[in-house]
């Protein structure tokens, strides 16, 4: 830590402190022979809505899988709530909504949620609460296989809201949803964060960035920036996050070109 000096991770560590609900340090992930995450570091602060933004294929899902402990990792460490990611005491304290819907198509919405609630040892009333949270109560007794894409996405999200998770890892939860619903869900995320839950949410849609307290901008397995939305605009002199992101990419490309 002392000899190597100002790497990005240490700078970020200095800003955010060593604490953090999620602390990723030098995470190395190899998938299909490629270094998908070539040693990344970041930390997610408690009670915030932290966004992970980047184009599809940049490694968002891989990072989230590492945080919930289902991704095989080749190096580095991931700590969640002070414990190694995926360790037994964390199961149930970390809610995960994977990018795949991960629900049973041949069960009804309520049957799906009741099963996951039973596994989590959550009270039965959680099912109704989660259904109301994602505005899916009218579909409770419909087979999941017959839902529309947006409804399916919401069943999946509802399953992650069961029990009493302290951390929610949500992989593109608002994809394919209409604007009203998206606004409602982001309001829900902030309500949950205000109640002390840490939300780590990914998106490849830049206009969602402004709804986050903090942002990680990612490109091909690396972080381009870690800041508040306002800080990013200030740092790049851009008017919106999309422009800011493009400027950061151009700057990164120039550095790569210079070093090549």
């Amino acid at each position: 830590m002392t000899s190597t000096g100002g790497t990005v991770s240490e700078t970020a560590g200095a800003v955010t402190g060593t604490g953090g609900t999620v602390v990723v340090d030098g995470l190395l992930v190899v998938r299909g022979g490629n270094e998908v995450l070539p040693g990344v570091s970041c930390s997610v602060q408690p009670g915030t809505v932290t966004g992970l933004l980047g184009p599809s294929g940049c490694g968002k899902t891989t990072l989230m899988r590492a945080i919930v402990g289902v991704q095989r990792i080749a190096g580095g460490s991931v700590q969640v709530l002070g414990m190694p990611a995926g360790s037994a005491p964390l199961r149930g304290r970390v809610g995960y909504r994977s990018q795949a819907s991960a629900v049973y198509a041949d069960l009804t919405v309520a049957e799906n949620l009741r099963y996951f609630a039973a596994v989590l040892h959550a009270p039965a009333s959680d099912v109704d609460r989660a259904l109301a949270d994602v505005d899916l109560a009218p579909q409770a007794n419909q087979l999941v296989g017959s839902l529309s894409g947006g409804q399916l996405a919401r069943v999946s999200l509802a399953s992650a809201l069961l029990g009493a998770p302290e951390v929610l890892v949500l992989d593109e939860p608002t994809v394919g949803l209409d604007p009203v619903l998206r606004r409602d869900l982001w309001a829900l995320f902030h309500r949950l964060a205000d109640a002390g839950i840490t939300i780590f949410v990914s998106s490849h849609v830049m206009d969602e960035a402004t709804r986050c307290n903090r942002l990680f901008l990612m490109r091909t397995g690396r972080f381009l920036a870690e800041d508040t939305p306002a800080g990013l605009l200030r740092q790049t002199g851009a008017d919106d996050i999309e422009t800011a992101f493009l400027r950061l990419i151009d700057a990164a490309r120039e550095r790569e070109g210079a070093s090549a």
Binding site: R31, G86, V119
Partner: protein, 245 residues
């Protein structure tokens, strides 16, 4: 492991089945049709039907539960539900035993219907008690489920999963003693046969066919089948990884 989660998992698997009446119908009706066909094929030779009827009642649940389980668990892997469950406080054994319980319970119904039809209208004669056929056949069903759970780890698609049926089950069927008594096989084949779980289930059912009461040898056969179930579930647990590439 947690009995509450195991039972919730078994209930969930049965609930999935309940939403699929066609599969339920096939699982219950096909064994009855096949055992009836067998009776008709050996219409002039009831002694042959009597010899192989009970053993075959134990083969159907092995095949069907193997297929149903390997496809069901493959779906859990590909749909992401397995990954979600493994982030939750669910032990691998909760999942494996949940499946074994659910399909074992369903097999009780499947075997009871086929056995009742065989012993009643089709006039199958066995010396031993009918409930012993049920016990051995249900053990076979659970063995099928346990093997299905294990091999699904090696299947990346439904196409591959169904190919494991001829690969894993048919050799056992060829060598279990139904075609040729195991005592008459070449030495090497007999050794192989001795190492395959279905051989003991069929030995047991053959003994029930010819011997009244509950011979100790049948209980020994049953014990071996149960041991194979435990071993297959253990292998299934070993191939179920929380972390994947």
């Amino acid at each position: 492991m947690n009995p509450r989660i195991t039972l919730a998992t078994a209930g969930r698997v049965l609930r999935q089945l309940r939403h699929d009446p066609r599969t339920i119908g096939l699982l219950l009706v096909v064994p009855v049709v096949l055992v009836t066909l067998l009776r008709l094929v050996y219409d002039g030779k009831p002694q042959i039907f009597d010899r192989i009827g009970a053993p075959l009642l134990g083969v159907f649940p092995l095949i069907t539960m193997f297929l149903v389980t390997s496809i069901a668990t493959l779906r859990e892997r590909t749909s992401g539900t397995l990954e979600r469950l493994l982030t939750m406080p669910l032990a691998k054994l909760d999942l494996l035993l949940g499946y074994a319980l659910a399909f074992g319970a369903f097999a009780v119904l499947q075997v009871a219907i086929a056995t009742a039809v065989a012993l009643g209208p089709l006039g199958l004669h066995v010396a031993g008690p009918a409930w012993l056929i049920l016990v051995l056949a249900v053990a076979n069903a659970v063995l099928g489920t346990a093997l299905g759970l294990f091999v699904s780890a090696f299947a990346a698609s439904e196409f591959q999963a169904v190919q494991f049926m001829p690969a894993v089950i048919l050799p056992q069927l060829l060598l279990c003693g139904l075609l040729l008594p195991r005592g008459q096989m070449q030495t090497v084949l007999r050794w192989v046969s001795n190492a395959l779980p279905l051989s003991y289930a069929i030995d047991g059912l053959t003994r029930v066919t010819s011997t009244p009461g509950v011979p100790g040898a049948v209980l020994a056969d049953l014990g071996i089948v149960l041991g194979c179930i435990v071993a297959a579930l253990g292998l299934g647990a070993a191939t179920l990884r929380r972390r994947t590439a």
